[in-house]
Subunit: 369 residues, 2 copies
């Protein structure tokens, strides 16, 4: 087993500041609109023009007002609840090995400080927006986690405006420059995977990623591209799939149908990688003799499939725990804790091997002899 040390980076630039309480009247006056209009905007109801909405949001931001201020003032204690809103088709969520690990870790962090977790699973962006607005306006939570950041993501801005403490969980993005983030350099794992394959003599190294809209998908793909460049290898073929077994199998067939088919594939998760091995077997190919396969996650089954899966291990549990401790510190206005995160590991098992010998070059028949 090879270990690859890449430390988690907790990057925090501007934690949300605590300010004096303003009232809804102050916001209405500053915006030049009625209290009802302010209330409508923060309750997510329609009937307020875009221009008025903008003025209200701006006034609220400048005054540091948030809709639960009065409710909060009535209570000396905070809710001691943190929120996690997950936008995912519920039937897909159950196939995500990262989710349970991350949630478990969050719980470990919360338990250390007697907090609980409010979990909401929503299926689209509109429901997601409403969920956050409701959590904030009903003062149900003291802070929220942002996971699965997308390349165009409305949440950091919305939640900063709503003045609720947030911690972003995932690779850095331009959206997260001004917010607290618990970053894990998952790209380092992909880099190590590509280096391992190159050392085994592979020249055409493909990639099957998850959904392209996620920052972490882009981050892993960029790591694959950059490492190939560093090694002086050509960019291999790439397919963006969906993290499911079916998607992984289909993408594998597509890559292997190419004229310049890869002799090794790096997958965005273990489920796609294992389905990819199955697809290769269906074509009469042997893993790793004809095709090397690398996954991502190190799910509990990875050592029990045949061949045993070479993969990248992220410690989702510890990541969740650190995210929870960071968010609690932010909520309680304390300094951020120091973390000793376990390194990202690259686990070599049996699904990777030396590149197969190239087939004898097919030369055009010589009609001139």
């Amino acid at each position: 087993m090879l270990l690859f040390s890449e430390r988690l980076h907790v990057g925090v630039n501007k934690p949300v500041k605590k300010t004096k309480r303003a009232t809804i009247e102050d916001v209405a006056r500053k915006a030049g609109l009625s209290k009802t209009a302010v209330s409508f905007v923060f309750n997510g109801r329609s009937g307020v023009s875009a221009e008025s909405q903008k003025r209200i949001m701006q006034a609220a931001e400048e005054l540091g007002w948030r809709p639960d201020a009065r409710a909060r003032a009535l209570s000396l204690s905070q809710t001691h609840v943190l929120g996690l809103v997950v936008k995912r088709d519920p039937s897909l969520l159950s196939t995500d090995p990262f989710f349970a690990g991350f949630v478990s870790g969050v719980q470990m962090g919360l338990a250390e400080h007697n907090y609980s977790l409010m979990l909401q699973v929503v299926s689209d962006t509109e429901a997601e927006r409403l969920a956050y607005q409701q959590l904030v306006r009903e003062a149900k939570v003291d802070g929220v986690f942002l996971t699965d950041l997308e390349t165009e993501d409305f949440r950091p801005r919305l939640l900063t405006t709503l003045r609720i403490p947030i911690v972003v969980v995932g690779p850095p993005s331009h959206e997260t420059e001004n917010v607290a983030a618990v970053e894990m350099n998952d790209a380092a794992g992909v880099k190590r995977a590509v280096q391992h394959l190159a050392a085994l003599g592979h020249k055409v190294i493909g990639h099957v990623s998850g959904n392209d809209k996620y920052v972490h998908t882009r981050s892993r793909r960029d790591a694959w591209i950059e490492t190939l460049e560093e090694l002086g290898l050509p960019q291999g073929p790439y397919i963006s799939a969906d993290f499911t077994g079916e998607g992984g199998a289909r993408a594998t067939h597509e890559l292997l149908d190419l004229p310049n088919a890869p002799t090794a594939i790096v997958y965005g998760n273990d489920l796609m990688a294992i389905a990819g091995m199955f697809a290769a077997g269906d074509r009469g190919l042997s893993v790793p003799n004809d095709l090397s396969v690398i996954g991502f996650d190190d799910i509990p089954l990875a050592p029990y499939v045949t061949p045993r899966l070479t993969t990248v291990r992220q410690n989702a549990i510890e990541w969740g725990r650190c995210a929870a401790l960071t968010l609690i510190a932010l909520v309680e206005n304390r300094p951020f804790p120091e973390f000793e995160m376990p390194p990202v590991e690259f686990i070599v098992r049996s699904s990777t091997g030396p590149a197969p010998h190239l087939p004898p070059a097919v030369t055009a028949p010589n009609h001139d002899r």
Copy 2:
């Protein structure tokens, strides 16, 4: 694919009744103790003798008082939050394929009625007890789910005393006679598995279960025993493992080391079954030629391992959804909804096959010839 129809049974005997509000003074007077003592007991603090605790709990139960009564009276609305407390080592939770599916389904049910889920993961019984007491006393939730019922389980009694609506999720037990329960007859899946193996000619059918303390573990084991009896087959060897891959592999080796080793094994989950196939391969045995293997769960990977796993599919998502709708109805004092639960399915793939021919009988060498 064979289908086995076994309908979910929603068994409800005595839903929690609504009663008039008593006050903490009433409870103290009835118990002959101070308000502080009552407050201490319901806040989980020490310093009250066991005898006094008992009197206070009894007085509260008789008066129908619960600690959040005043807080509730101040508010016209309920919290619209339901609680799920899971007692599991967080690092084990991430290996449970049922968890994410069930939670996803609960979320679907909650979303239909604009409820949210408060999730707590605790690691031992003491933390579990405190978690429930705190949820109730701080009026954080309107009702709670009880999962992973144990054969000796304090929760139904505690929560009935605390007068919070509960729904038990799982096979029936003597502890759940007086509470609402969403029951799934998972035993029916095990029965179908054993019948399938018997039809293939297997005579020695083993079983590797999960942890023996759970009602669902007992329920599946009993189904295995009863089906063998019904079929006139001898009881095969049995090992209680822990739902992990490592535990499944170890149990498989132990069963195969027996003089009367099974030719087929029914496992308590897919993870143990797949690890069991791997263990068999390690011993030079071929699945299904030398050993037939059946899992439980139908995880997303089950069709992508080699050989493809024959297994029992429980619809954890739909189960979670029905549990949520039932609990919401209970909280809102409405009639229970009618469910159309999908049947438990038995999925025949490639890890089961005809029983191997018995080795030729080894006869003692005849020294008398």
